[in-house]
């Protein structure tokens, strides 16, 4: 990595942290937190949805499991308010990763549309369990956490930093996967899974590594979210719209890229919050979701980052042609459009 890039990244990270420390109103801070939360969820989802090509609609289930894990730990072990609950995040992540291996092993025997259906079914199973395991989850009554004793005017900061830490973790894992043979194997699987078996790629193991890492990230983010919102109930914690939102953001930003999913979240979440605020009725954003999906599918089927990359690539080629004295023929219009 060049020095310039490293400096740029350090700057970006510092800026992201500082955003949490400027004095803005609570509702703006709230938007920041949800933006970073979705950026983390989308980046984590990309490991399995983008790299392996398995479009999971079940990530909200693991988000919800993480949320309930947080609340249940509170209730039964009274771990004390303040910063301590953040320390149990790694345990939730590891626990959910372990739990997800048998689930993933079954679900990932199916592909494409079937996999999407199997995973959304999993989501509804988890939601039903949240309703019915009353002794643990209190069913539809929901469960709460005592508010932590953080100073009121900086109340959101710890949550913002925790969400940001999850996003950075997801980005680091993605960066590492891209550069390892894991990433190569995942790309081979996405291209032609049967062929990958035949050339000796450890297909099942690699898919499960991606799946369990991906949902572990979702669960840890769910746990932070549960601590932030303080009160959860089944439809709220295990919400299909979370899954759909994640998929939308990844598709918008660019599947299988490092920054695309986070970029998608950065665009969609503030826009959604803004429209919810402007239009009053918060469910109207669902129509915007549908519209945005349509626009992406029609005009940006690859997502923003891959489209920008190929556009830059073409420009480079054009410049190289002009510099080498070659005749500059203007490319056809459809090539100029991203």
């Amino acid at each position: 990595m060049t020095v310039v890039r490293r400096a740029g990244l350090a700057l970006l990270l510092t800026a992201a942290v500082l955003v949490g420390f400027v004095g803005v109103t609570h509702w703006i801070m709230n938007i920041f937190i949800f933006t970073v939360m979705y950026a983390g969820l989308a980046t984590g989802w990309n490991l399995v949805g983008g790299f392996a090509g398995y479009t999971s609609l079940g990530h909200a289930a693991f988000f919800g499991i993480g949320a309930y894990a947080m609340d249940v730990t509170f209730e039964h072990h009274s771990i004390g308010a303040g910063y301590v609950p953040f320390a149990i995040l790694p345990f939730i992540g590891i626990g959910v990763a372990a739990l997800s291996i048998p689930l993933g092993w079954i679900a990932m025997r199916t592909r494409a549309a079937t996999f999407a259906i199997v995973t959304i079914t999993l989501l509804f199973v988890v939601q039903t369990l949240a309703f019915n395991l009353k002794s643990i989850t209190h069913g539809s009554q929901g469960m709460g956490i005592t508010p932590p004793p953080f100073a009121l005017h900086t109340y959101e900061r710890p949550f913002y930093v925790a969400m940001l830490a999850m996003l950075v973790l997801a980005l680091l894992i993605t960066w590492y996967v891209q550069r390892s043979k894991l990433g190569l194997a995942l790309a081979a699987i996405r291209d032609d899974e049967d062929k990958a078996h035949g050339v000796g790629v450890h297909v099942t193991a690699v898919k499960l590594i991606a799946f369990s890492t991906s949902v572990a990230i979702a669960s840890m983010i769910g746990a932070v979210w549960a601590y932030y919102v303080l009160f959860i109930y089944p439809q709220f914690a295990v919400d299909p719209l979370i899954s759909i939102g994640i998929v939308l953001m990844v598709f918008l930003g660019g599947k299988g890229t490092l920054w695309g999913p986070a970029l998608g979240a950065l665009i969609v979440v503030p826009a959604q919050q803004y429209f919810a605020y402007e239009l009053g009725a918060s469910k109207l954003y669902l129509i915007a979701y549908a519209g945005l999906f349509l626009v992406i599918m029609l005009f940006l089927p690859q997502g923003i980052i891959p489209s920008l990359a190929s556009w830059a690539d073409r420009n480079r080629h054009r410049r190289a042609r002009t510099l080498s004295g070659g005749q500059l023929v203007s490319p056809p219009l459809h090539e100029l459009l991203p």
Binding site: K181, L184, A187, A188, R190, D191
Partner: protein, 243 residues
């Protein structure tokens, strides 16, 4: 000599069509065996069952002494059996070089290491140079021509130095110079101890490269022999001429 691969009573029906019908043959260790037959005689279907891409209705294979009635492609790859497809299958979104690295069967530890190490690149580039694909090394495989993809798939099948390599019509769609390159590679791998089972319609290539030749018609072998024996076999002529 003993057989590296034995095919025993493989049968596959697609609805009313019996594509492979109680088919048995052996591939001797260290041979270049051809499997020929008219279009639709079941060669590709037999390959698919042998390599675990298609479950057989009945029958089994014995590879390297291990009997398998439901072989799996991954298991076979690890045991040293590799194949190519009639319609070349490569990883389109990977670069040409990475296609070879992906086929290099990394250990568990390597899985967590660099995507391509210097050694990986060196090994891949050597093969690419041999197949005249050096200029395409960094191109995505989907940008290659059909013939180039065919060569790439063949090269990828050689990466792990498998014991048995099954080629489904390696020369179809490939220019004559590259066919010679393929032939040279088959011979040199053969000299190094590998065994080949080749489906091929180019009879010149078959006759100069392969021995023995197995002829399939309507899903079962009708003749086995040396090139000269096969050329004089009347049942084979009948099968080809549709008499």
């Amino acid at each position: 000599m003993s057989n590296l691969l034995d095919v025993a009573n493989l049968t596959k029906r697609f609805g009313g069509v019996t594509a492979v019908d109680d088919c048995s043959f052996g591939v001797e260790e260290h041979s270049i065996t051809a499997l020929i037959g008219p279009n639709g005689s079941g060669k590709t279907t037999a390959f698919n069952m042998i390599t675990g891409y298609l479950p057989a209705d009945s029958g089994h294979i014995v590879f390297g002494g291990a009997k398998m009635s439901r072989p799996r492609p991954a298991q076979l790859a690890r045991l040293g059996l590799c194949r190519t497809f009639q319609q070349a299958r490569v990883f389109n979104q990977l670069s040409t070089r990475e296609n070879l690295v992906a086929a290099s069967q990394p250990s568990w530890r390597q899985l967590f290491g660099a995507r391509s190490t210097a050694a990986d690149r060196e090994q891949a580039d050597e093969l690419l140079a041999d197949f005249n694909l050096s200029d395409q090394a960094d191109k995505l495989a989907r940008e290659l021509s059909y013939g180039q993809r065919k060569l790439l798939e063949f090269a990828a099948a050689l990466v792990g130095s498998p014991r048995l390599i099954l080629l489904d019509e390696p020369s179809a769609g490939v220019n004559p110079v590259m066919i010679e390159t393929m032939e040279r590679h088959v011979r040199s791998r053969h000299a190094a101890g590998a065994t080949f089972l080749i489906v091929e319609h180019d009879m010149n290539l078959v006759m100069r490269l392969c021995d023995p030749i197995i002829v399939l018609d309507q899903g079962s072998p009708i003749a086995t022999g040396t090139p000269s024996e096969i050329q004089m076999n009347s049942a084979v002529l009948d099968a080809y001429l549709g008499a």
